[in-house]
C-alpha cells in the first residue's frame, strides 16, 4: 500500500518535471534568438543564418522539441553555443558551490528559526516574544540583495572583517548564508511560534500537565513533534525560496554557483544551459516536495493511516 502511495507521488513528480521542461523550452525560443544575442549587430545576415542552420535553430519548433527529448533520453542535455562544451558539464561544475550555499542556508533557517520560534512561544507576550517577533518582521521585510549589500558595506568596507568576495574559505560563507537564510529563518520562527502556541493550548497538553509531565518534556517531547508537522510544509516551500534567493545572493557576493551562471546564460541566450539549470531546479523542488510528503507520513500516524487505507 505504502509503495503504491510513493509510486503515485513519484509519477506526479515526473509529470511536473515534464511540464516545466516543456514550458521553459518554448518560452526561451519565443523570447529571443541566441545568434543575434551573441553576434554584433552589424554581422552579415548570411553568416547569422549559417550559424542558425548549424545549431539547428531554423528547424520548426516541434522538431527541435522532439530532438531535445531524444537527446535527453540519451543523457544529452545539449551544448553551449559559445565554447561547445556539454551543458551538463558546464552546470555540474557550478553545483558544489550552490549546494554548499543552499544547504548551509537551509541549516541556518532550521537552526535559527526553530529555537527562536519555540523561545517566543514559551515566553508568549513577554519582552522575549516581542523582541523575537520584531526581529522576524525585520528579517523577512529586508530584500536579500539589500541585506547582502548592507553586510558588505559593514563588514567588508567599514570594519574590514570579512572579504566581500571569494568562496574558498569557510568564513566566505558567513555573509552569503546570512543573506540567504535570514528571511526564511524569520518566517520559520513565526510559523513555529504560532504552531507551538496552537499545540500548547491543545487538550492533550493540559492532560499531560495534569499527570505531572515536566514542562521541558511537554515542550520537546509532545508539543514540538506535533507543531513540527505543519512546519514541514513551510520548510518544503523554503527550498524554492532558497533556490531563487541563491540567484540574487550569488550575484551580490560573486559566488561561483548556478545562480550566476543562470543569469549570464539567460542574457547570452545559452539555451541548453538555461534549460539544464531550470530542469535541475525543478528536480530539486520536486525532491523537496517528495521529501516533505514522506516526512509527513513518517511523523504523522494519521496521514500514514489515511495514505495506506487508500483515501
Amino acid at each position: 500500500m505504502m509503495i503504491r502511495v510513493i509510486t503515485r507521488r513519484i509519477l506526479r513528480a515526473l509529470l511536473t518535471l515534464f511540464l516545466v521542461v516543456t514550458f521553459v523550452f518554448f518560452v526561451l525560443r519565443l523570447t529571443g534568438d541566441p545568434v543575434s544575442a551573441m553576434m554584433p549587430d552589424d554581422t552579415d545576415p548570411a553568416i547569422m543564418d549559417q550559424m542558425r542552420e548549424d545549431w539547428g535553430l531554423n528547424r520548426p519548433l516541434a522538431v527541435q522539441y522532439a530532438d531535445y527529448w531524444m537527446g535527453l533520453a540519451q543523457g544529452d542535455f545539449g551544448n553551449a553555443y559559445r565554447d561547445g562544451r556539454p551543458a551538463l558539464e558546464v552546470v555540474s561544475e557550478r553545483i558544489p558551490a550552490t549546494l554548499t550555499l543552499t544547504l548551509t542556508g537551509f541549516a541556518f533557517i532550521v537552526i535559527v528559526g526553530f529555537p527562536l520560534g519555540i523561545l517566543a512561544a514559551i515566553n508568549r507576550g513577554t519582552v522575549i516574544d516581542r523582541g523575537i517577533m520584531t526581529l522576524s518582521v525585520t528579517g523577512f521585510s529586508l530584500p536579500n540583495f539589500f541585506l547582502g549589500i548592507l553586510l558588505i558595506l559593514l563588514f567588508s568596507v567599514q570594519l574590514r572583517l570579512l572579504p566581500a568576495f571569494g568562496s574558498d574559505k569557510w568564513y566566505n560563507l558567513l555573509m552569503p548564508v546570512f543573506t540567504l537564510g535570514t528571511a526564511g529563518a524569520a518566517v520559520i520562527a513565526r510559523f513555529v511560534r504560532s504552531s507551538m502556541l496552537e499545540v500548547l493550548s491543545a487538550p492533550y497538553i493540559r492532560a499531560a500537565r495534569a499527570r505531572g509531565v515536566q514542562e521541558r518534556q511537554i515542550i520537546w517531547r509532545i508539543a514540538l513533534p506535533n507543531a513540527a508537522i505543519p512546519t514541514i510544509t513551510v520548510l518544503g516551500f523554503m527550498v524554492g525560496a532558497l533556490i531563487s534567493g541563491s540567484i540574487v545572493t550569488e550575484s551580490v557576493f560573486a559566488w561561483p554557483g548556478i545562480g550566476r551562471l543562470l543569469i549570464d546564460s539567460v542574457t547570452q541566450r545559452e539555451l541548453a544551459i538555461v534549460q539544464t539549470i531550470v530542469m535541475l531546479t525543478a528536480f530539486s523542488m520536486v525532491v523537496a516536495n517528495l521529501t516533505v510528503d514522506l516526512l509527513y507520513l513518517m511523523i504523522d500516524p494519521r496521514q500514514r493511516y489515511a495514505a495506506t487505507s487508500g483515501a
Binding site: 491543545a202 487538550p203 492533550y204 493540559r206 492532560a207 499531560a208 500537565r209 495534569a210 499527570r211 505531572g212 509531565v213 509532545i222 513533534p225 506535533n226 508537522i229 511523523i299 504523522d300 500516524p301 494519521r302 493511516y305 489515511a306 487505507s309 487508500g310 483515501a311
Partner: protein, 596 residues
C-alpha cells in the same frame, strides 16, 4: 475514617482572573473522603472546571490562587504541581483529543507508568498492559500499539483512566468524562469508575451538568453557582429535597423518561465581575426576597451533613415538585393521521477511501404524520443524522424513496430543492457554529426571505421582529452578533431563522445537546409552543432518551443503520420490544423509581 489521608481538602479557595479583574471562584471549600465520589454540578460558567484545574495547579499565570489546597494530606499550594500524577490525576471530557495524537497509547501509558512508579521500561510496559486490562480495554495487547485516532471515544476514555491510575492517585478529578459518550458507553465508564473506587479507595470529584449521572455515581454533591458552592450534601437528600432554589431549578430542568415537562431556569449565570452584590442567583430566583439582593448568603449548615447558602431556603419537598410546569406528557392528541413525510425502504451510502461504500442507513421505513413530532434516537454511528439529511434532500437515497407531501424529496443542487427549502428546515446542534459570526442576528434571520425574494424590505423587517418575539428574544436582539449572546439565545435565533420561511417540518439534529439543562429545558418548551403555533411537524434527532416524552409522540430507534423499533413514545419507552431499546433505556442515568 481510619486515619487515612484525606484525598482532597480545599479551604477558602479564591481564584482571581487578571484579565477579567474579578474573582472567578470565591471562598470555596470542598473535601472528599477516601472512597467518596463527590459530584460537582452547575451550569456552564459556574466554575466547576476552574475549581479542578486550580486544585491541580493547572491554571497559568493569568490566574491568581489563594486559599488552602491539600491533595492526599499534602497541604502545599505551591508544590501541587510536583504531586500531580501521584496524589491526584484528572480525566477530561474529550478523551480522544486529550491523548497525544502522534504517539501510540501504549507508549504514552508506559512512559507515564515508568515515570510515576520509577520502573524500567520493560516492567512499566507490563504494568501498562495490566492497567489496560484493568480498565477493560478490549484486546489490550493488540491495542497497545494503536494511536488514539484508531480508537473510539469510549475506548480512549478508558485509556485516559488507565493513565490516571498510573501514579496510584488518592484523588481523581473527572471533568465531564462521559458527556461526549453514548449512553450505553457512559454507563460502562461510570461502572468502571465505581469499581476502581471500590478497589482502591480513591476519592473522585465528578464534574457534570447532568444530575442523572450524579444520582447514578455520586455519594455526595456540591452545587456550584457563579463561583461559589450554594448547596452540598448527600445526593439522595439533595435531589429529593433541594434547599437552594437553584438546585431545585436544576432538578426541575432535567428531562425524565417519565416525561415531566422540564421547567428550566430563566436568565443566565452572571459573568465574573458582573455579579450582583447580594445572592448571585437572586435575579433568576422566584423565591428571592428584598434582602437577597443586598446580603450575600454564607454557606451554613442546613441539616445533618448538608450545607446551603441561601437566606430563604426551600423546606420540604414541595419545591422540586411544584416547580415542574406540569406533569402532562406531550399531548397524545390525535393529529391528522396523514403522513407529511414518508421514508420508504430507504438506504443511504457514503463513499469511503479506496472507492468503497459505507452503508449508513439500510432498509428504513417510517412515516412522519402532519403536525406530529417523531424522535429519532440511537447512538453515534446509528445513522440517525443520515435520516435527517435524507429528509432535507442533502443526501440521495441509494435505495427506496423519501417522500414529502407525496412527492419525492428533491436533492440539493437541483432547482426544485430551492423551493423545497421553504417546506423543511434544519436546526443543527451547535448554534454558534451554525451562525455567521460576522453578521447580525437580525440579518441572518431575514436572509432566507432575501434569498427567496419574499416581501418588501419593510415586510421582511416586520417578519424578523415577529420571529424574534416568537422565540422569546425580542426585536432588540436584531442588531447583536452571535458572540454577544449566550448559547441558548443563539439557538433561539437559529430556530427563528429556520421558521422564517414558514416551513411545515423542522429537522432538529441534537438541537439541545450542547446546551445546559436549564437552557435545554426552555428550548424544548419553546419548540413545543412553536409547534403548536405554527402547526409544525418535528423530527427530533437525539441521543438523550429523557427528552423524548416531553416533546415527541412517536419514536424511531436506530441501530447500526437499521430501524429496530418504531412506535408511540408511550409504547417504546414503557414496553420496549427490541432488546437494543431496552439496553438504551437501562443505560439512561436517572433514579430507577422514575422508570417504574
Amino acid at each position: 475514617m481510619t486515619g487515612e489521608r484525606v484525598p482532597l481538602a480545599i479551604e477558602g479557595l479564591t481564584v482571581y482572573h487578571h484579565a477579567v479583574d474579578a474573582p472567578v471562584i470565591e471562598n470555596l471549600a470542598l473535601s472528599v473522603k477516601p472512597g467518596e465520589i463527590r459530584g460537582l454540578v452547575g451550569e456552564s460558567g459556574s466554575g466547576k472546571s476552574i475549581t479542578c484545574m486550580a486544585a491541580l495547579g493547572l491554571l497559568n499565570d493569568d490566574w491568581q490562587i489563594s486559599g488552602q489546597i491539600a491533595l492526599a494530606g499534602n497541604r502545599t499550594l505551591q508544590a501541587v504541581a510536583e504531586r500531580r500524577g501521584f496524589d491526584a490525576a484528572m480525566i477530561f471530557q474529550d478523551a480522544t483529543s486529550s491523548l497525544n495524537p502522534i504517539q501510540t497509547i501504549g507508549q504514552q501509558l508506559t512512559e507515564t507508568v515508568a515515570r510515576l512508579r520509577r520502573l524500567s521500561r520493560a516492567t512499566a510496559r507490563r504494568v501498562a498492559l495490566d492497567l489496560l486490562k484493568r480498565v477493560d480495554l478490549p484486546e489490550p495487547e493488540a491495542r497497545y500499539d494503536y494511536y488514539p485516532f484508531q480508537l473510539s471515544g469510549g475506548q480512549n476514555q478508558r485509556v485516559m483512566i488507565a493513565l490516571a491510575l498510573a501514579g496510584q492517585p488518592r484523588i481523581l478529578f473527572a471533568d465531564e468524562p462521559t458527556t461526549a459518550l453514548d449512553v450505553t458507553i457512559q454507563s460502562q465508564i461510570l461502572e468502571l469508575l465505581k469499581s476502581i473506587r471500590d478497589e482502591t479507595g480513591m476519592g473522585i470529584v465528578f464534574v457534570t451538568h447532568d444530575l442523572g449521572v450524579i444520582e447514578d455515581i455520586c455519594d455526595t454533591v456540591s452545587v456550584m453557582y457563579s463561583g461559589r458552592i450554594v448547596e452540598s450534601g448527600p445526593v439522595t437528600d439533595i435531589i429529593d429535597r433541594p434547599a437552594h432554589p437553584y438546585t431545585s431549578g436544576l432538578i426541575s430542568s432535567m428531562p425524565t423518561l417519565a416525561g415531566q415537562i422540564p421547567a428550566g431556569i430563566a436568565g443566565q449565570v452572571p459573568a465574573p465581575g458582573q455579579r450582583p452584590t447580594g445572592c448571585a442567583f437572586a435575579p433568576r430566583c422566584s423565591e428571592a426576597r428584598p434582602d437577597c439582593r443586598t446580603e450575600p448568603p454564607r454557606l451554613v449548615a442546613f441539616s445533618a451533613g448538608r450545607d446551603v447558602a441561601c437566606l430563604n431556603p426551600l423546606g420540604g419537598n414541595h419545591a422540586a415538585e411544584q416547580s415542574r410546569l406540569d406533569h402532562r406528557h406531550c399531548p397524545n392528541k390525535s393529529t391528522r393521521q396523514e403522513p407529511i413525510a414518508e421514508i420508504k425502504n430507504a438506504a443511504c451510502d457514503y463513499r469511503v477511501g479506496g472507492g468503497g461504500v459505507f452503508r449508513a442507513v439500510s432498509n428504513v421505513s417510517f412515516d412522519i404524520n402532519d403536525r406530529e413530532s417523531v424522535a429519532v434516537i440511537g447512538e453515534s454511528g446509528s445513522g440517525k443524522s443520515t435520516i435527517g439529511k435524507l429528509l432535507l434532500g442533502l443526501e440521495a437515497p441509494a435505495e427506496g424513496e423519501i417522500l414529502f407531501s407525496r412527492e419525492p424529496v428533491p436533492l440539493l443542487g437541483t432547482v426544485l430543492h430551492r423551493a423545497y427549502a421553504r417546506f423543511v428546515q434544519l436546526v443543527p446542534q451547535n448554534p454558534y457554529l451554525s451562525l455567521d459570526p460576522r453578521a447580525t442576528i437580525g440579518n441572518q434571520i431575514r436572509e432566507p426571505l432575501i434569498i427567496h425574494r419574499i416581501g418588501t424590505q419593510a415586510e421582511q423587517l416586520h417578519k424578523r421582529d415577529e420571529l424574534l418575539e416568537a422565540v422569546g428574544l425580542g426585536p432588540e436582539f436584531a442588531d447583536r452578533y452571535p458572540h454577544e449572546i449566550s448559547g441558548g439565545q443563539c439557538q433561539r435565533a437559529v430556530i427563528a431563522r429556520a421558521l422564517c420561511l414558514q416551513p411545515q417540518m423542522l429537522i432538529c439534529d441534537e438541537a439541545t445537546a450542547s446546551l445546559d439543562v436549564s437552557v435545554q429545558a426552555r428550548i424544548i418548551a419553546l419548540l413545543r409552543e412553536l409547534q403548536e403555533r405554527f402547526q409544525l411537524s418535528l423530527v427530533f434527532i437525539t441521543h438523550d432518551l429523557r427528552i423524548i416524552r416531553s416533546l415527541c409522540q412517536k419514536v424511531a430507534v436506530m441501530q447500526k443503520g437499521e430501524l429496530v423499533e418504531f412506535g408511540t413514545a408511550e409504547q417504546v419507552l414503557s414496553t420496549p420490544s427490541h432488546p437494543y431499546t431496552r439496553a438504551l433505556l437501562a443505560a439512561v442515568p436517572e433514579k430507577k423509581k422514575e422508570l417504574a
